[in-house]
Amino acid sequence: MSTIITHPKVAKAWVFKDASMAKQKEMMNRHYGRLADAPQTGEKVASTFVPGNLNELLMCFGFAVNLPEINAIQNGLRKTSGNFVMEAEKIGHSEDVCTYVKSDIGMMARGNIGPNGRRLPDPDVLLLSCTGCFTFMKWFELLRERYRCETIMFHTPYMADGKIAPDMVKYMVKQLEKDVIPKLERVSGVKFDIDRLREYLKKSARAEDDLVWVLQSAKATPSPIDAYFGGIYYIGPIFGAFRGTDDAIEYYKFLREEIEGRLAQGKGPVTPGGDMGKERYRLVVEGPPNYTNFRQFWKMFYEEGAVVVASSYTKVGGTYDFGFRHNPDKPLESLAEYCLNVYTNRSLPMRVDMLENYIGEYEADGLLINSIKSCNSFSAGQLLIMREVERRTGKPAAFIETDLVDPRYFSPANVKNRLESYFQMIEQKRARARAAG
């Protein structure tokens, strides 16, 4: 699971672009250029996942980082993922499994061409950071078959009891010390320098502070951001290959300044159609978005004046709003805690609490769940989550079903109908509340 970090075709259609967007676009172009150039420059390439992404550690060894989920998202946005998914099914992958995996495998089967139209390099190492989703393990076992490169399992225990126990952190630090780091040293030929890691972590924490500020700006009314559709752009650099870099610090500084400006002017979020009109509904959203019809999906919200004020998806590559920051004083421990805190690694009761609290803290009208066919990690249990949050908050909840990158599972008419009825439900609830005095 992950987030988008660029806005390829979508960006062109945006009515205006601000400095943070331009910065992000430039970062992403550079990133994909670096990856495509790797065979020439001789840079080593590591593939890894967004949740449990150990970017700072990989930077210590000079790896260029490839994130297959991001590639799948890019392919979703560019509407190429559908063919890739079908390609993977043609070569024997089940129609029932995660479409990120199939988009990736289909893309590989068709030449592994990245979003910039250039071939993505074969990885030198697969860092199988296994956090919050069992599919990750199978995904990299599948890639290992093809690339036959070093594959490093880094197992994150599940936060089943709602807390991080010391033995979990110890287990993870030991894996880092005894297995992950020595293997990364071997593949890269670079000796591990913990002070270098500390420097990167320091930078991560700075960017994380600004990210949290940005996401929490949605507590204002009107909210200056959309914390789901817009949020997906905002989390890009920090969830991707930029956490721990000066680029990320700069990006979040720009972003924060822009949002501060919008707040001061009492403005709502920017959408692909320009400034959003009057804020009518404030929603908390659980689950990833659909990428194949991303703009169309978003439009169904902003045209109705619906703004997402908090989302669980913006916590999938790390949950920072409860205070966690990468900590240079405890470098390996904080990498472990970061992985443990990933949203999908949190128990179902924790997820319910989190969403319930979001509804209160962000003064939302209710919870909307976008359930993803592909993703058991998110989806299994969401109907109970919906009931629980509805029961606890007394706010209406709704459920829609789409897929991440398989266009066959996005039915615009169905989604729109559901959303319209949901907005009506909210209106009715308000009317009843007014009538009750």
Partner: protein, 394 residues
């Protein structure tokens, strides 16, 4: 003297079938009612250390969903159509009160669905203790081993709380011995089936295993012993069936009819991954020394493989299936996997590649625990059996 005449096998199978079809788990209820203070701990696939439950004086009860007999009324409201069936029928068992005698539930780390179900259980049945069993994916004794040992200690304390008495080392060692015996018997049963599949039908083996998830282990050990002895004296007609391994049945269960259909279509099932917990450790777990260390070490270094367990050695990916084929002298593999089952279906292409490289034929289909139509499966398996015979005749 114990009756080990051939007819005894049918009698045992009938008893096991009764236990299997009883969705109220009366055998376990009866055990619990037998003595005040007795506790029952439910567990889901694919593995939990049953020795600890037993050492706490409790009954480990395997919960494998509701099969094709349970009418799912409430469970469907909790899961989308694209999620496998076992969690919904398990929830149904819970909501309908069929598990109201269960004191604790264990959910091992097999997949995201059962993982999330562990949290759902806490919310839905707050009066029942529910616990996730996080199994390590690092198999270094100092790393994953240490983590697992501490997990086992916690589990031991959790069980002690439920049982209201400590779970001593001595009790665990005694339980290890009982389960060593159980696993040895199951291995013997499997070996006998591989040697004489015509005398040991897989549907019977299956029912015998299922009964073992409900009955006290001591009683089940006797049952298996008697069954094996009786089966050895059987002399059923040998058929020129194809010998197959069935793969992918480690969690949600196929209907019993599906197993029968495979065998009726001209296949002898000589290997499978049904209820791996019954034989997870490949040989005896140490019965002396630190029992927690022994359990951890057995899991890390001496256990079978399945999709939910990471394979660190790329060259050995799929080896477990090839080994099962070779050891059981199978001629092909039938992948029977639950619809929407990530672990099984994501593993399948890798297993198929391994089989292709080894020149072992296979077929694949999906099922749900409540699949009704067996005709297509019978036809597919029948064609497969015929084609195996054709190839081997070439």
């Amino acid at each position: 003297m114990e009756d080990t005449s051939p007819s005894k096998t049918a009698e045992i199978a009938a008893r096991c079938e009764e236990i299997f079809t009883d969705l109220d788990f009366n055998a376990a209820r009866k055990w619990k009612a037998g003595k005040p203070g007795r506790k029952v701990i439910g567990f889901m696939p694919f593995y939990v250390p049953r020795e600890l439950i037993h050492a706490a004086g409790a009954l480990p009860l395997g919960i494998l969903g509701g099969g094709d007999q349970l009418e799912v009324i409430h469970g469907d409201a909790y899961f989308q159509s694209y999620i496998c069936r076992i969690p919904r029928s398990t929830v149904e068992l819970g909501i309908s009160g069929r598990l109201d005698f269960v004191d604790g539930m264990l959910f091992p780390s097999i997949c995201d669905v059962i993982r999330n179900l562990s949290g759902m259980w806490k919310l839905m049945f707050p009066r029942v203790a529910a616990r996730y069993v996080d199994l390590p994916q690092n198999f270094d004794g100092e790393v994953g081993g240490e983590f697992y040992r501490s997990g086992l200690q916690e589990l031991r304390h959790w069980l002690a709380d439920i049982a209201s008495h400590p779970v001593t080392d001595e009790a665990i060692r005694a339980s290890v011995a009982v389960y060593n015996k159980s696993r040895a018997l199951i291995r013997e049963l499997y070996a006998l089936r591989a040697a004489e599949p015509w005398n040991v039908p897989s549907a019977e083996v299956y029912l015998l295993l299922r009964a073992g998830l409900v009955l006290p282990v001591e009683e089940h050990n006797e049952l298996v012993r008697t069954y094996i002895d009786a089966a050895r004296s059987r002399d059923r007609p040998f058929k020129d069936n194809s010998r197959v391994v069935v793969s992918g049945v480690f969690c949600e269960q196929p209907p019993l009819n599906l197993i029968k259909s495979i065998e009726l279509s001209g296949c002898y099932i000589v290997g499978d991954d049904f209820m791996l917990v019954t034989r997870w450790e490949k040989s005896d777990t140490a019965e002396d020394g630190d029992p927690i260390a022994a359990l951890a070490s057995a899991y890390l270094h001496n256990s079978l493989s399945t999709s939910a367990k990471y394979e660190p050695d790329a060259a050995r990916k799929g080896a477990y299936l090839i080994e099962s084929v070779r050891k059981n002298r199978a001629e092909g593999v039938i992948f029977a996997m639950p619809s929407f089952c990530d672990p099984a279906l994501l593993e399948r292409p890798m297993l198929q590649n391994a089989l292709k490289a080894a020149g072992i034929p296979f077929i694949a289909f999906k099922y749900a625990e409540n699949s009704g139509q067996m005709q297509p499966i019978r036809e597919q398996a029948g064609t497969f059996a015929d084609s195996i015979k054709l190839w081997s005749g070439e």
